[in-house]
Symmetry: C2
Subunit: 335 residues, 2 copies
């Protein structure tokens, strides 16, 4: 048995973990620079020398690839080049491990498989009976049922999972507000909002104090800082209002409506997922950036289950790269 | 009386017209290059020499300006510089004409006033009783009641107009699909869609044959061409599906749902607007890029009114710059 590292290759970030406590996230805009993925991966792999490389991905959905098949192929060829002589295994959403060449052929199972690795890893916290993994991310949310410690998902591809409610394409940072609300209360009146990418969920959670300010972070709807003041301005634009027409109380009111709409959407999806189970859920594991949304979701579900926070088990640093950590652990255990 | 030209300064295009049959649109990304507006306007004004310049705008909402007041001020200072010695008058949403300095002081009335100029111009087609202007644009839709040939709007600022239903921030090109639908039928199942700017209304109307293909036009959600094939791919991404999972029939099904959702939204807003009128509408004027949506909207409203197409009255070229044309006509008539 040699040393493993795992790569989780997304559209905006690449995460690396060894499953033993090392984990790091590297910003890499794959959709802008697909041809540089190989050299970037080689550079990243230098951070954690290992004999074996485990791979999962979601980056095949990036705009730069004409199809998922082509995305998987390009990403895995880049991995192969970067890995050099190291043994490389790709995780499929069936739970199997295969070579890069086999994964290119079985691209539909290699695509978007990181949620399955995380769910399978989380199975150890709920080894008996039914469990539910609630992973609320910046962009998407996974609601994966577990049975006797194994993923018991109804859908496998992202499209199937959207239909099953196991994937909800909403998250606590990037989701456009106009996708969550079509109108909002404004000073006693109901007001249709602008169908435009003027603000995202992160602005709502900044105003509500659930997301930390970061004046260096410009990955917002208008490219201005992720601060409360700028978030308020962005929220106001949803009603074509500027600061004179839209004060802090208006911003908080709109933000609360956003949070409620998102919670309602996740609650409905979780109910769909749970309705397919034949027994009550005994354990709920919550993970992801959006733990602040997972907590009220668990309350609203009203189930009598033990609630486990992944960040409590893994620590804050590793939990930010949870699928990569999970994958490295699974790879080591698979031998 | 001297010669007039009118400028309609938007966030992405500047339109110039003389009210006599000349009209031209100039692409200018104001939000990217606010400091170059003055020199751009000087260049544009060279296309139609005139003694007097009439101005209306919507560009003050562009991201580059911290507030509407600052946007109006910057734009009008640029106009003033570009106009040189020419007499310049700014149209307010009260229907008044003022100098640039007065308009900077009364920025709330100078902001977003072009809809009022268009509505006032259209009043001539409905000189008696109630009329309705339905202007469906690429991004927004105006639903302006007219009474005895004058705008009879309930709201004046964009925020007030969103609340009154007179401004609906949805259009036939740029609106994110996730703002119109939260789920879609996919092969017999209801499927939540991605809350992401993967596709816009233009993709739906391309697939439905209501919008013309233009392989040189890359102003789409993913920066790829405005063709039917690319539109299908973008629509598929709303369901995280690629071409293998999402064929032409799937694309058409999704596109029809988008069109129906948009029509329903406009119908509800138009009913709100009409509910405030004390008498039935005698004349409906339809204008804008989205005439294909205005026609079924008129049918659905089921009112016994004469329907006038602005493009039929003005011709296709002038009608593409209708607010600028309207403004030049009003300016000439104001003397």
């Amino acid at each position: 048995m040699g040393d493993w590292v795992a790569l989780d290759i997304g559209g905006a970030n690449i995460k690396l973990a060894d499953g033993l406590g090392f984990a790091q996230s590297f910003a890499f805009p794959l959709w802008k620079r697909p041809k540089q993925l190989g050299s970037e991966l080689a550079r990243i792999l230098d951070h954690a020398p290992a004999d074996h490389v485990a791979v999962t991905m979601t980056g095949e959905l990036a705009d730069c690839f004409p199809s998922k098949a082509e995305g998987v192929r390009s990403i895995l060829l880049a991995v192969k080049a970067a890995a050099g002589g190291r043994r490389t295994r790709v995780y499929l959403s069936s739970g199997q491990w295969v070579t890069t060449d086999a994964a290119i052929a079985r691209w539909r199972w290699a695509a978007a498989s990181n949620w399955h690795a995380l769910a399978r890893f989380c199975g150890r916290f709920a080894p008996n009976g039914y469990g539910l993994l609630i992973d609320v991310g910046s962009t998407t949310t996974d609601l994966i049922p577990l049975r006797d410690g194994r993923p018991a998902n109804a859908g496998r591809t992202d499209t199937e999972r959207l239909a099953s409610g196991e994937l909800v394409y909403t998250g606590v940072e990037r989701s456009p507000l106009c996708a969550l609300l079509s109108s909002a209360n404004y000073r006693g009146r109901r007001c249709r909002i602008a169908q435009e990418l003027f603000a995202t969920t992160r602005d709502a959670y900044l105003v509500l104090g659930e997301s930390a300010e970061d004046s260096d972070d410009l990955t917002t709807a208008d490219g201005r800082p992720a601060t409360i003041e700028d978030a308020r301005r962005r929220l106001g634009r949803m009603l074509c209002a500027d600061a004179g027409e839209f004060g802090p109380a208006d911003a908080e009111s709109l933000a609360r409506e956003v949070a409620q709409a998102q919670l309602k959407m996740l609650h409905e999806a979780a109910q769909e997922v749970m309705a397919r189970l034949t027994h009550p859920i005994a354990t709920i594991t919550i993970s992801g950036h959006g733990q602040h949304l997972a907590r009220p979701l668990v309350d609203r579900l009203g189930v009598d289950a033990e609630v486990i926070r992944l960040s409590g088990r893994l620590g804050p640093n590793v939990s930010r790269c949870a699928p990569a950590h999970a994958l490295a652990v699974l790879a080591r255990e698979s031998e």
